[in-house]
Amino acid sequence: MEWYTCCMGMKTAAFQVNAADNVATLLGVAEPGAAIELLGPLAGLELKARDRIAMGHKIALRTIGTGDAITKFGVVIGLAIRTIEPGEWIHLHNCHSLLDERSGSFDLYTGAPRENDHA
């Protein structure tokens, strides 16, 4: 069963762990515009991906204002550093840790550090 792949026009599953969560985790890859099949407490919610979102990454379920908590597993996992619209990819570019000073300084796609010059 090719559950982990998804192409244009097909629904990609995403899992909301806790009813309090304003994000869900993609169980496949979603291309921009792809319809999301939400599993978990808010199953059935109409949602389309606004960005390309890789498997294991997070999608916003509702509008999240600047400085608002981003919640997954029912716990606060970070704060929004700008307004996030439903269907947006949530990652290093719009969500920062409450504690980790390096949070947000990494390459958005590879996660590689950018402040150390290896050259």
């Binding site: 069963m1 559950w3 982990y4 899992f15 762990v17 985790t25 993609l26 169980l27 890789a54 498997m55 294991g56 990454h57 997070k58 981003i70 997954k72 597993f73 716990v75 606060v76 996992i77 970070g78 949530i90 990652h91 290093l92 969500c95 920062h96 840790s97 409450l98 504690l99 980790d100 000073e101 390096r102 949070s103 990494f106 390459d107 796609y109 590879t110 996660g111 590689a112 550090p113």
Partner: protein, 406 residues
């Protein structure tokens, strides 16, 4: 009746003179300084039952000595050879004495007192042969069940699937193990950021609640002081955005049972049930650098509690194994499982695709644990992996502070 109690899960293990029960009968070669590491590895070369560990530092460290003694008296170890160069602070003969007190045969020597590389390797191989013969003569075969097992759990190379599938499957398997009288340990306190209330709420007693709260507070102060949080580029690439997110996923491997308390490195759990291992350094003028240098360091800490098997959950995939205790590798990412089938023991991603329930996956995982306990090699064992990592660190253990200095 025994059939019912063990759920048919019974195998034959090795009863040591100190009463501990092992699932392997290894000879352990321990070097006491980096300068002796080549000779130690040459002694163990091409000997399937000989595992090698060692401490790189020349200056001794109580924490590292406790770790070496704990590993030398591990249930899976039947005999120990300690090898030093001859200049270092840590004394091989003192380590061997400590191992002998556990009833296991042990030998030691300094390379400088035995010529050079060739003569030391020859001596070491001869001593290993004697230790093996003694260990085989000493080994008492006994039936074992899940109640005799201590299992450790570590995650590494975590991704967005780890907190949804890999760790929850281990957590459920831990629930089942504890219900059957076994002992379950998880660590990575540095990956419990933001979870103080959840941890304390899981305490089995007021004492445990106090230990868990203190453990959390120390960890957070340490992470802030060294400005290191246990989240890496691969985690980010795999969809984890912050240490807080990674933490909640990691904590899922602790299942849902009450937490009996906090143990320190090299300390066996006082009684069965679920425990948290604190491997974070205590306050010390040297501060000892980083909290979490790599996955293998954490696995060694778990092995040193007496864990006969360690479960390793990796969403992105990893190619490590472990000295002394078999590592069973679990991934919640079906793609990783397909790409790295030769290294991965268990695909927990089937829970996400709906192929199996969490309970079914957890029971299957326990079946695999029992098979490995019964002698079937895990994938890392089959591939010959024996990673180890011992570092300088400081933890307060007043009763043991004397260590093994000469």
């Amino acid at each position: 009746m025994p059939e019912l109690e063990s759920g048919g899960r019974e195998w034959t293990g090795f009863l040591r003179k100190d009463g501990r029960k092992g699932i392997r009968n290894h000879i352990l070669v321990i070097y006491t300084v980096e300068c002796a590491s080549f000779v130690a590895h040459a002694i163990g070369h091409a000997e399937p039952d000989v595992h090698v560990i060692g401490f790189p530092g020349c200056y001794d460290n109580d924490y590292a000595i406790r770790l070496m003694v704990a590993l030398g008296t591990h249930p899976n170890v039947g005999g120990v050879l300690t090898v030093g160069l001859g200049c270092e602070y840590t004394q091989p003969s003192r380590l061997a004495d400590a191992v002998r007190q556990s009833g296991r045969p042990a030998e030691s020597f300094f390379i400088q007192e035995n010529g050079g590389t060739e003569s030391s390797v020859a001596l070491g191989r001869k001593l290993v042969g004697q230790l093996r013969a003694q260990s085989e003569a000493d080994a008492v075969r006994v039936p074992m069940t899940l109640a005799d097992l201590t299992i450790g759990a570590e995650c590494g190379g975590s991704d967005g699937t780890s907190g949804l599938a890999g760790n929850p499957v281990v957590g459920r398997a831990y629930d089942f193990l504890v219900e059957r009288g076994g002992t379950a340990i998880f660590e990575e306190v540095v990956e419990m950021i933001g979870l103080r209330e959840l941890m304390v709420a899981r305490a089995a007693s007021p004492e445990a609640a106090q230990e868990l709260g203190a453990c959390y507070d120390k960890m957070l102060a340490y992470c802030r002081a060294v400005r290191q949080y246990s989240v890496a580029p691969g985690n980010f690439a795999g969809g984890l955005t912050t240490i807080e997110e990674k933490s909640m996923g990691a904590f899922a491997k602790g299942g849902s049972k009450p937490i009996e308390g906090v143990i320190r490195v090299a300390e066996p759990p006082p009684h069965p049930g679920l425990w948290i291992l604190d491997s974070v350094p205590d306050t010390h003028f040297m501060q000892f650098g980083y909290t979490n240098p790599n996955d293998t360091e954490g696995i060694m800490d778990l092995v040193a509690t007496g864990a006969q098997i360690v479960l390793f959950i990796t969403g992105r995939g990893s190619v490590i194994g472990s000295a002394i205790s078999p590592l069973i590798k679990i991934t919640g990412n079906t793609e990783t499982y397909r790409k790295m089938t030769g290294d991965m023991d268990f695909n927990a991603g089937r829970v996400l695709s709906g192929e199996v329930t969490l309970d079914q996956a957890a029971e299957e995982l326990l079946d695999l644990v029992v098979a490995v306990a019964g002698g079937e090699p895990s994938k890392p064992e089959r591939l010959g992996h024996r990673e180890y990592f011992l570092m300088y660190k400081h933890q307060d253990v007043p009763a043991l502070e004397a260590g093994c200095r000469a």
